[in-house]
Amino acid sequence: MAEKLLTRYNDTPGSHTLNFYRSVNGYQALEKALGMTADAVIDEVKKSNLRGRGGAGFPTGMKWSFMPKAPVDANGVAKPKYLVCNADEGEPGTFKDRLLLTQHPHMLIEGMIIAGHAIGASRGYIYVRGEFVRETQRLEAAVAEARAAGYLGSQVMGRPWSFDICVYRGAGAYICGEETALLNSLEGKRGEPRLKPPFPAQVGAFGMPTCVNNVETFCAVPTIITDGAAKFAAIGTERSGGTRLFCVSGHIEKPGVYELPINITLRDLIAHCGGVRGGRKLKAVIPGGASAPMLSAEEIDVAMDFDSLAKAGTMAGSGGVIVIDETACIVEVAARLLKFYEHESCGQCSQCREGSHWLARMFQRIEEGGGTDADLDMIAGICSNMAGQTICAFADAVTGPALSSVRKFRAEFEAHVRQGCCPLKPADYVPSAHIKHHASARL
């Protein structure tokens, strides 16, 4: 298997400390990058073919090059530029950023400072999901260490450039992973996505030009600078370089985070993780986080890079691979996902607010045996009124599991309708109360 670039020191005691990070050449990439022009750093990242690991797979170097060089306000006064790290990690099936924050916070900080140099930012924010209390504490300690060592502050490594990082905690809302919702949240507002344009590179955090990247994206930057873009680009495909942190979970023998070439096939990835749990038969795989359309067991000879999965009608998304074996009921799995989306829709757009609610109710009704054939056809109709019709891509995400499950496992849905119950459940099965109640103490 290929070399690990980001997670070589996983599970090494003290890997999160500055001392350890320096002992393995930490912050040498920063030293090197500060000796390069901003454009040269951007060029190097472009050449590496690094694509964003947050979900959309946008080329990172290109995103950085979209940042205005010397923005000014209406009065001709220079505007500050901001860098934001998306550590909201909320896409079901995704848990790599948590590993990076816990074990390699300095890699993230170093990647952010290099990016800050490349785009000419004066400040960086790390937006961490609110549930990550311990991860936030660790990150804050690492930022303090980096500041004390002179990597952050009014003169980064003795140079005439001021850059500091602020760690900001969210408060429980999946939608804040969407970058413009994140920016609103960072401004202390409701996490509602913004209409684009203007894009964050023009009007971002606090009205200033802003660049948003995922944790893993920043963590890939030091190795690209130290070892050169060519080495990174040599792994993967022509259009998508490097290794990726795949999060493999569900009915898999050895769940976990695996750093592997981005174009490994899904079949090899599953084998690498010990295969389906208990040697059972595979039923379906969600290859890129909950929003990615499901693949059936026959479709796993596909490479995991962004383009190959897009060609296969799904998406690489966040790298969250959820393995589902023959014992699971696809209708129930999809119903569970739709219940999640129903709960998390921010409610701004009626198509999304109502559509996710209808879909969640419908799937649950089908699972419980109350569905009709007309329901199955109506699902596609509801989805076509959602995807591409709203302010952000959340609505598109909802249609991922809804459409793919019905399309690929229609027979299972029809069996529910015909038998008036879930064929995989015992006759005396009673769905757990929490599904009925949707109860939460916090409502």
């Binding site: 990690e89 909320g90 896409e91 079901p92 099936g93 995704t94 848990f95 950023d97 948590r98 400040r123 924010y125 609110g130 549930e131 990550f132 311990r134 500091d164 602020c166 900001y168 905690r169 969210g170 408060a171 429980g172 809302a173 999946y174 949240s185 960072l186 401004e187 202390g188 507002k189 409701r190 996490g191 606090f206 999060c247 493999v248 979970s249 569900g250 009915h251 769940p255 976990g256 969600i286 909950a290 969250g320 959820i322 589902i324 799995v333 569970r336 996902l337 999640f340 709960h343 998390e344 921010c346 757990s432 109360a433 929490h434 109640h437 109860a439 939460s440 103490a441 916090r442 409502l443």
Partner: protein, 161 residues
């Protein structure tokens, strides 16, 4: 009054990084909840006054985010993930065990005010599913017996005060 000198100082320290008063709202509500356990209407009014922003701004934000408790909660907040991977690995059964043990439904607090039981969405720990967050800490790779062990420890902690 919830905002004391300590909270006020910690919020002040953020002002160098956060250019608007509104941006201090999320951190302030976190601080207030850490001290008071939940965010009451009075607490929202206090936050509005402290940051000199309209109360409506505070209310709309506090009610948007699920982590701000809008009602009092138990000393131990059991937050079990029931999203897809945890579900595939048995979270529903664990939730049923908890409901039985505590004699409450999901979303409720025990009569003695010790425990609140909630279901939450993916906690980004699916590799070690099923997962439950208790107050600030994650408990991972749970099964029926490790859950029972955890609950016994929590009972003991509560008894010892």
């Amino acid at each position: 009054m919830i905002i004391d000198q300590e909270i006020s100082q910690r919020i002040d320290a953020l002002r160098t990084h956060l250019p608007t008063e509104q941006a201090l709202l999320l951190p302030l509500l976190h601080e207030m909840q850490a001290k008071a356990g939940w965010i009451s209407r009075e607490a929202m009014a206090e936050a509005a006054q402290f940051l000199k922003i309209p109360l409506a701004r505070v209310v709309e934000v506090a009610t948007f985010y699920t982590m701000y408790n809008k009602a009092p909660i138990g000393k131990k907040h059991l937050q079990i993930c029931t999203n897809v991977t945890c579900f595939l690995r048995g979270s529903d059964h664990l939730l049923a065990c908890l409901e039985k043990r505590l004699g409450i439904h999901c979303g409720e607090t025990t009569a003695d005010g010790q425990y609140t039981l909630s279901e939450v969405e993916c906690l980004a720990a699916c590799g070690t599913a099923p997962v439950m967050q208790v107050n600030d800490d994650y408990h991972e790779n749970l099964d029926e017996s490790s859950l029972e062990g955890l609950m016994n420890r929590l009972d003991q902690e509560l008894k010892n005060g």
